[in-house]
Amino acid sequence: MLGTGILKGLYITAKNLVGSYYSSERLTTIQYPEQRAQLPENYRNFPFLVYDGEDAIDGLRCTACKMCEKECPPQCIYIIPERDEKGKLQKKPKVFDIDISVCMGCGICAEVCPFESIKMDHHFEVAQRNRFAGLLLHREQLAKSNKYYHSIRPKEATAVDESLAEEKRKAEEKAKAAAAAKEAAAKAAAAKAADAAKAKTDDLEEKKN
């Protein structure tokens, strides 16, 4: 009959009205500043730099390879590598700035980074009073500990740690093997040289005779 649909609808909304006072599970909203939703692990907004150890600047994984700077679609990353007195590159960023007023949170920088250094953050309360200086984040503000990385993305961070350890082990093995090979080569060279010297003296003696 005409109108029964409206009555059904009225019944449903009335049920919601009464139910919302009795069961708090019905309430879908969260009272934000006091209560906070658990962000999903893969949530991302702005990038940050991971460091190992205690010192934020010394422990940076970043090697200033500028891969992220090149890949960044809105070009919001700005890097100047560190140089020593002679002008030699130091594999460290001297300046690492990200303008988060430009950043679009695509996460490409985190994907291309070969050193697992730049990662996407969970921090979303980035409002500032100064929209130019306040939103330009420097090396010091971007550097966050590996522990923090573990706290926001436990799964990913563990996998990254494992792969880094594996790489380190491989590198060490390689270095060891290289060192061993070098040593062997040096030995062989020395033996050869000794042989050559001996032969030379032999020759000389033959000439004398």
Binding site: M1, L2, G3, I6, G9, L10, I12, T13, A14, N16, L17, G19, S20, Y21, R26, L27, T28, T29, Q31
Partner: protein
């Protein structure tokens, strides 16, 4: 004891008014002050009701959608579940920039919100709020006056739409005009039966006619024609005050905010106020015509002053308006027109026949009384079902073939 205390409470507002007026010695000044006090009282009571209706509406809509609704505003650190919200809103509306478009008709643009509030307040003048409480209780054709005053708010809406010089505003005010004119008709037609039964166009007369020994059963809504009339009245009232599901003039999804598009700051708030005043006065009329006005539901409860009964019924009506808003979706323009002209108007006309039958069978007794009720109910239900069948044939349920 009860009789004396009842009369004191009942006449309490009048006693205060007379006492205030008696301070002034001059006769003509006294008359002016008497009127002014009435106006101030209405503005205060309904202004506050408006303020708290807005926050109640927002809170209830939240609850209807399983949310908490606004609960943040606090004054001096006290947070009464966010019920201070209207004061914060008022401060915000007052301090906002008032933008008048360069191409607007400045005078009309300014006049429209004022006219809106003024016209929507006119209706309160004739509503009988209590046994002795009515600003213009001696008007015989109060009902006519009410509808005339109510129709004037269409002018204000069209003024707003036209003066904004904005296509959305103009479209919306056209829509509003079409809607208001179409729904004025069923509204008037269902008011006629109450007049017919009371034999008077005076709202006080209509209320008095609904009193008697039976209490609540004397109210018009508990007769077949009254019930049907009340439903039609309710639907038409929803449309008259542009509320969901008939809020086409303000359809945000199609025409931004309709005739409110070019309004900001306190002018916008005035439109809002006008809309709510209109809603309250129409609810008041509905209470007067069908819900027994200021009559108490039974004699035992008559110790509560009549104006409180009126106010309680008014609040219930407003809550029903909010419930409707929380439930129904906005109609399309053609659906809106069809509902009025093809459904409500014919039913309201049939209802006139029903009430005539009811009036002329008032002296039927015994078995004939049962027959009277049955015939009247049939006169209400049968046209509803058959008209509904005819109108909704071939319309639903919709099959989604490609979804």
């Amino acid at each position: 004891m009860s009789a004396s205390s009842e009369s004191i409470l009942e006449a309490f507002p009048l006693t205060i008014r007379d006492w205030l007026a008696s301070v002034v010695p001059l006769d003509w000044l006294q008359w002016l002050i008497l009127s002014l006090i009435g106006i101030v009282a209405i503005l205060t009571v309904f202004g506050l009701t408006f303020a708290f209706t807005t926050v109640t509406e927002r809170k209830l809509l939240g609850r209807f959608q399983n949310r908490l609704g606004p609960n943040r505003v606090r004054i001096f650190g006290i947070r009464v579940f966010g019920f201070f919200q209207p004061f914060a809103d008022a401060v915000k509306a007052l301090t906002k920039e008032d933008i008048v478009p360069a191409a607007a008709d400045k005078v009309l643009h300014f006049l429209a919100p004022c006219a809106m509030v003024a016209f929507s307040l006119l209706g309160f003048a004739v509503l009988p709020f209590g046994k002795h409480l009515s600003l213009l209780s001696n008007i015989d054709a109060a009902l006519l006056y009410f509808f005339a005053a109510g129709a004037a708010s269409e002018l204000a809406i069209f003024m707003a739409g036209w003066s904004s010089n904005n296509k959305f505003s103009l479209i919306s005010s056209m829509r509003a005009l079409a809607q208001l004119i179409s729904y004025e008709l069923p509204l008037l037609l269902v008011a006629v039966p109450a007049v017919l039964m009371a034999g008077s166009l005076s709202l006080t007369g209509i209320v008095v006619n609904q009193g008697g020994d039976l209490g609540i059963l004397n109210w018009n809504v508990f007769t077949p024609w009254g019930f049907a009339g009340f439903i039609i009245f309710f639907i038409a009232a929803l449309a008259e005050c542009n509320r969901c599901p008939f809020d086409l003039p303000e359809g945000e999804s199609e025409i931004i905010a309709g005739y409110l598009t070019e309004y900001s700051g306190f002018k916008y708030a005035l439109f809002f106020m006008g809309e709510y005043f209109g809603m309250m006065s129409l609810s008041g009329l509905g209470v007067t015509l069908f819900l027994g006005g200021w009559q108490a539901p039974c004699a035992a409860l008559a110790f509560i002053p009549s104006y409180l009964w009126f106010y309680a019924k008014l609040i219930v009506m407003i809550l029903c308006f909010i419930w409707m808003r929380a439930t129904l979706l906005r109609l399309r323009m053609d659906q809106l027109m069809r509902l009025s002209w093809k459904f409500l108007v014919p039913l309201a006309l049939v209802n006139l026949g029903t009430v005539t039958f009811w009036k002329y069978t008032a002296d039927w007794e015994g078995g004939m009384l049962v027959a009277r009720w049955l015939i009247a109910i049939a006169l209400v239900i049968l046209p509803f079902i058959s008209l509904g069948k005819v109108l909704s044939s071939g319309l639903g349920p919709r099959k989604y073939r490609y979804a």
